[in-house]
C-alpha cells in the first residue's frame, strides 16, 4: 500500500519545515526590510545557488556547520511579487498580520501583551526573517552581519539570538519539545512503532506543508501568483485555478512570537504554593520537570504515549494545564475517542522554538511554529484552547503558563479527590515582546522570488 504523504518533494521544501536543525544549536533571527529589490534578489539567488538555504532533502548529517531558512511577511511578498501579488489568494490572517485589534483580542494579546508594548512587529516594516543556524554563536553573528552588507539590499529591523538549551530545558526548568507531531512520509514517521503512537503523533503532511492532503484528505488552500511574475514558469499550475501558478506548494506559514519569561516570579510562586506531594509548577505545566507525563496511564510506553483517557477528570494532569490545553489529545468532546483524537489532530503545529537570553538578562522562548493554516492551527490553539476560560468545563481560568489574564482569571484548578485544590492570584509570568506572521516558501517559489 502506498504510504500517504510518501510523495513529499523534499528537494522543494525548506529544511526548517522538515527538521529543527538540532545539530546546529545556535540560531540568529534577523527580521529585515527590503531596501533595494534588485540587490536583495541577487543576494537571495546567490544563497540558493550556493545551497546555503538547505532543502528538506539534505539530511541532518549533511548540513555542515551552518544553514539558513528564509520567510516573508505579506508586505515582503507584495514588495517582491509586485503586480503578480494576488492578495485574495492568501488567508486574511496572513495579509492583515498579527497586529490588528480584533486579532489581538482573539489571541489574547491584550493588557501586558498588547502590541503597543512590543519591541518589534508593530510597524509594517518587516518584510521577512532570515534564520541562521550554526555550531557557534560567533558564526551566527557573522552570518547575520554578512547578510546585512549594503550590497545585499537588506536593512535590519530587529535581530534575536537564541539557542537550544544544553540540558533540553526551557527557562522555567522543564524539559521542552517532547510532544512534536511527526509528518507522515518522513523518516521519523517510519520510526513510530506502536499503533497508538501513530494515531497520536503521525499527522498528514498537508497539515504543515501546502500541496499535500491534510487530515481531512483534502488539499489545503494554497496561495497563487500571476503567471506574469518572472520565474513563475518554474511553479506548477494552481490546483484550483490552473490559469494561475501555485506559489504556495511546498511552503508553510510560520508564526514567530518572542515570549519573555519571568523565571524568578515563577519559581517564587511555585515554592510558596507547593507542599509535600504537590508540585504546583508541574501541575500548571502538565509534565514533570524531566518531561514525564502526569497522567496515570498504565499502558504508556514512553513519555509521549498517552491520550488522557485514563485521566479524564484531570487528577493526574489538570485539565487546564499548559500542555493539556495545547493538545488535549482524545479528550475533546466527540462521538468517540478516535473521532476526538482526529479533531485534536486538526490543530497541531510543528514547533521550532529556541530559548533566548538578552544582554540585560531577560530570558524567554522565541516561539516559532509552522502550520498550513494559521487560523485553524496556531490561532485556534491560542484562542480556543489556551485562552478559553470555558475550556472543557472550566470557568474563568486560562492557561496558567502562557494564557493572558482576563477578568477574574489568575485562578488555576487542580482536580483531586475528595475535592479540588485551587490556586488563586496566579500571576502572568510570560509577556509577549513581539511577533509576526510569515510565509516560508518552497525552494522553487524562492527561486521565482529571486528572479
Amino acid at each position: 500500500m502506498k504510504k500517504p504523504g510518501s510523495d513529499l518533494q523534499f528537494k522543494d521544501i525548506q529544511g526548517l519545515a522538515i527538521r529543527g536543525f538540532g545539530r546546529l544549536p545556535y540560531a540568529g533571527y534577523l527580521c529585515f526590510g527590503i531596501a533595494e529589490k534588485p540587490l536583495f534578489r541577487r543576494w537571495l539567488k546567490g544563497l540558493l545557488e550556493r545551497g546555503e538555504i538547505a532543502s528538506g532533502k539534505v539530511h541532518n548529517t549533511e548540513l555542515g556547520d551552518s544553514n539558513r531558512g528564509i520567510a516573508f511577511t505579506a508586505a515582503g511578498l507584495q514588495t517582491l511579487m509586485e503586480s503578480a501579488w494576488l492578495e485574495t489568494s492568501f488567508p486574511v490572517e496572513f495579509t492583515e498580520g498579527m497586529v490588528q485589534p480584533q486579532r489581538s483580542r482573539l489571541l489574547g494579546d491584550i493588557d501586558w501583551n498588547a502590541p503597543k508594548a512590543w519591541r518589534w512587529g508593530v510597524q509594517d516594516d518587516i518584510h521577512g526573517v532570515l534564520m541562521c543556524f550554526a555550531q557557534q554563536r560567533a558564526e551566527v553573528e557573522q552570518m547575520l552581519d554578512d547578510a546585512l552588507q549594503a550590497s545585499n539590499g537588506l536593512r535590519e529591523v530587529t535581530r534575536i539570538y537564541a539557542q537550544l538549551p544544553e540540558d533540553g530545558k526551557e527557562p522555567f526548568g522543564f524539559a521542552d519539545g517532547i510532544s512534536q507531531p511527526v509528518i507522515e512520509g518522513t523518516y521519523r514517521d517510519q520510526a513510530l512503532v506502536s499503533k497508538r503512537e501513530r494515531q497520536l503523533h503521525a499527522i498528514a503532511a498537508g497539515e504543515f506543508i501546502l500541496g499535500y492532503p491534510d487530515g481531512s484528505g483534502q488539499l489545503p488552500r494554497s496561495p497563487a501568483c500571476s503567471p506574469a511574475m518572472p520565474g513563475s514558469d518554474r511553479l506548477a499550475p494552481h490546483c484550483l485555478r490552473p490559469e494561475l501558478r501555485d506559489f504556495g506548494r511546498n511552503g508553510s506559514f510560520l508564526v514567530i512570537r518572542q515570549l519573555a519569561q519571568d523565571v524568578e516570579a515563577f519559581k517564587a510562586y511555585v515554592e510558596a504554593h507547593s507542599r509535600e506531594g504537590l508540585d504546583v509548577g508541574e501541575k500548571m505545566l502538565g509534565r514533570t520537570r524531566e518531561g514525564d507525563s502526569l497522567t496515570r496511564d498504565t499502558s504508556a510506553q514512553g513519555v509521549n504515549d498517552f491520550d488522557y483517557l485514563e485521566d479524564r477528570k484531570g487528577q493526574g494532569c489538570p485539565i487546564g494545564a499548559h500542555v493539556r490545553r495545547s493538545n488535549p489529545r482524545s479528550t475533546v468532546h466527540d462521538r468517540s475517542d478516535e473521532a476526538a483524537l482526529k479533531v485534536s489532530n486538526r490543530h497541531r503545529i510543528l514547533r521550532r522554538g529556541r530559548v533566548y537570553e538578552n544582554a540585560d538578562g531577560e530570558v524567554g522562548l522565541l516561539f516559532l511554529c509552522l502550520n498550513a493554516s494559521i487560523s485553524r492551527q496556531f490561532e485556534f490553539i491560542q484562542a480556543s484552547w489556551s485562552n478559553d476560560p470555558f475550556f472543557q468545563g472550566l470557568a474563568g481560568e486560562v492557561d496558567p503558563i502562557s494564557g493572558t489574564a482576563r477578568g477574574n482569571a489568575g485562578v488555576f484548578t487542580i482536580p483531586a479527590s475528595p475535592y479540588r485544590h485551587k490556586l488563586q492570584s496566579v500571576p502572568q509570568w510570560v509577556t509577549l515582546k513581539g511577533g509576526a506572521y510569515f510565509f516560508l516558501p518552497g525552494m522553487q517559489a524562492l527561486c521565482a522570488l529571486a528572479e
Binding site: T88, P91, V92, T95, E96, Q102, R103, R105, L106, S216, Q218, P220, R221, L240, R275, K313, H333, D334, R335, A339, K342, V343, R346, H347, S373, S375, R376, E379, F380, A383, S384, D388, P389, F390, Q392, G393, L394, A395, G396, R406, G407, T413, P415, S417, P418, Y419, R420, H421, K422, Q424
Partner: protein, 450 residues
C-alpha cells in the same frame, strides 16, 4: 419552566436602515441602570439571550430582526418589556428603534406590545442547551456553586470528604437563600423523564451477542430513537414519520436528478466584511452568530428542507437534551427561521468560545446536521442527499458561512460568565447536594465543584 425561542422581523422604512444601525450601535444594553440598559434586558427576569441586527434582502429591502430566548410566554414577555419601558421611563429609546419600522412609524408605547406580537416568527427548528431551566434557576445554581466553592477554599489542606461535606452543609444552612434546595424542579420534567427512560435502556444489556461494534451502536441508536417516539406520543410520531418519508423521497429525487445549483462560491470573504463581523466578536468568552443565506426554492428542495427541519426539530426536542447537540457541547440557544417567502434562511446562535472554534465543531463534528439545515443554501459547497459533502469541505464551508453572516448590532447575555457546561454542572451539583441531605452520604459530589 418552558423556554420559548423566537424572532420578530420588521421591515425597515426605506432609507432608515442607516439611522437604525447607528442607534443600535450606540445603544447600551448590558448595564444595571435604565440609562445603560434602555431596553431593560437585564430587568426582564425571563430573558436569557436577546439580539438585534439588520439584514438586507435584494427584493424586499432591509429588515430589523429582534431575537429573544425566554422563559414562559411571549405575551408575558412583551407585556413586561413595555411595562419596564414605562416604569423606567425609557420609552423614547425604545420607540426610536421601532418607529423606524414599517407600520409603526407613528406608533406609541401603548401599541408596541401588539405590534411586536404581530411580527413574531417561530423557528423551523430550535435547540436549547439548558433545557427547562429558567434564568432564575441558572443564576440561583451559579450562586450555590459559588458558595460551595468558597467554602472549600476555606478548608485546611488535606481535609477529608466527610469534613468537607459537613462544612458545605453548614454553610448552606446558614444562608437563607439555600433553605430548600429541593424546591426547584429537576432540570426539566420532560427531559428528566426521557433521561430516565434512556438510562433504563442502557441498563438493559439485551443487545444481541455476536454483533460487532457498529451493529451494537446501531441497535442502541435505534432503541434511543424508539424512546423519543414514545415520549413524543402518537400524533407527533406520525407527523415525524411523514416528514421522514417526505425527506427520503424528495431527497432521493433531488439527488438523482442532480439538481442544478448556483455556482459554489470559491472566493474568500472580503476583508472589510470580516472586519465588520469581528468588531463584535470575542468581547466576552461567549459569542453570537447570525447568518442569513439565500435558499433554492424549487418545489422538491423546499419541501425536502421542510421535512429536514421537522426531523431536526424532533431530534433537538427529544434527543439532544443533555446540553450537547450532536457532539457540540457549547450551544446555549440556536434556531433557524425561513424568511422572505422561503427565499432566505436565518440562523441565530448563542454559543461558548470563539467563532472559529464553533465553526470548527461544525465542520469536524456535525457535518450531517449542518447539511440537513443548510444543504440548499445557494453557494454552499455541494452536498449529497442533504447529508454528505457540504460542510465536510471545511475551509470552503467556513468561508461560505462567513459570507452569509451579518454583524450583531446589539446582544444581551444574561449570564456571560457561565458556559453551558458550567450550567449543567451546577444543576447536577444542586441535585446531588439536595439528595445528600437525605442520604447523608459523604459528598461524592465534591468532585463536581471547581
Amino acid at each position: 419552566m418552558s423556554q420559548v425561542i423566537f424572532t420578530c422581523i420588521f421591515p425597515v422604512v426605506p432609507g432608515q436602515q442607516q439611522t437604525l444601525r447607528e442607534r443600535l450601535l450606540n445603544l447600551e444594553y448590558n448595564g444595571d441602570s435604565p440609562k445603560s440598559d434602555p431596553l431593560n434586558f437585564r430587568h426582564l427576569g425571563c430573558l436569557h439571550y436577546a439580539s438585534l441586527f439588520l439584514y438586507d434582502d435584494p427584493i424586499d429591502g432591509w429588515y430589523l430582526v429582534f431575537e429573544s430566548n425566554i422563559d414562559g410566554t411571549i405575551d408575558h414577555y412583551f407585556r413586561e418589556f413595555v411595562a419596564l419601558a414605562e416604569t423606567n421611563n425609557t420609552q423614547p429609546a425604545v420607540l426610536e428603534l421601532f418607529n423606524c419600522c414599517v407600520g409603526f412609524e407613528q406608533g406609541t408605547i401603548a401599541e408596541l406590545s401588539q405590534f411586536l406580537k404581530a411580527t413574531v416568527q417561530m423557528p423551523a427548528a430550535s435547540y436549547s442547551g439548558c433545557v427547562g431551566r429558567s434564568r432564575q434557576q441558572i443564576e440561583f445554581e451559579a450562586q450555590l456553586h459559588e458558595l460551595v466553592s468558597a467554602t472549600l477554599d476555606q478548608l485546611p489542606p488535606g481535609s477529608d470528604a466527610g469534613s468537607a461535606a459537613l462544612a458545605v452543609h453548614t454553610a448552606l444552612q446558614a444562608d437563607s437563600r439555600f433553605a430548600d434546595l429541593k424546591q426547584l424542579p429537576p432540570s426539566c420534567p420532560d427531559a428528566q423523564e426521557l433521561l430516565n427512560a434512556q438510562f433504563q435502556l442502557h441498563r438493559r444489556a439485551a443487545i444481541p451477542k455476536g454483533l460487532k461494534a457498529h451493529g451494537r451502536a446501531l441497535v442502541t441508536k435505534l432503541r434511543l430513537v424508539t424512546t423519543w417516539f414514545k415520549q413524543a406520543g402518537f400524533a407527533e410520531s406520525v407527523k415525524v414519520l411523514a416528514a421522514g418519508i417526505t425527506f427520503l423521497v424528495l431527497g432521493l429525487w433531488n439527488w438523482l436528478r442532480k439538481e442544478s445549483c448556483a455556482a459554489e462560491d470559491a472566493w474568500r470573504p472580503e476583508p472589510e466584511h470580516l472586519r465588520s463581523l469581528r468588531a463584535f466578536e470575542d468581547i466576552l468568552p461567549c459569542n453570537h452568530m447570525v447568518s442569513v443565506v439565500h435558499a433554492h426554492q424549487d418545489f422538491s428542495r423546499r419541501w425536502a428542507k421542510w421535512a429536514a427541519f421537522k426531523l431536526l426539530s424532533f431530534a433537538a426536542r427529544y434527543g439532544y437534551i443533555h446540553g450537547v447537540l450532536g457532539s457540540i457541547p457549547t450551544i446555549h440557544f440556536a434556531h433557524w427561521v425561513p424568511l422572505n417567502q422561503h427565499r432566505r434562511l436565518l440562523f441565530v446562535s448563542n454559543f461558548d468560545g470563539s467563532w472559529e472554534s464553533y465553526l470548527d465543531d461544525f465542520t469536524l463534528k456535525a457535518q450531517r446536521g449542518l447539511n440537513l439545515a443548510w444543504a440548499h443554501g445557494k453557494g454552499m459547497p455541494r452536498s449529497q442527499f442533504m447529508l454528505g459533502g457540504g460542510a465536510a469541505h471545511g475551509p470552503e464551508f467556513i468561508d461560505w458561512a462567513r459570507r452569509s453572516m451579518v454583524p450583531t448590532l446589539a446582544w444581551f447575555n444574561a449570564y456571560p460568565h457561565l458556559s453551558i457546561c458550567n450550567i449543567n454542572r451546577n444543576t447536577a451539583l444542586r441535585q446531588a447536594i439536595a439528595g445528600d441531605y437525605q442520604q447523608n452520604n459523604a459528598g461524592e459530589w465534591l468532585e463536581l465543584v471547581q
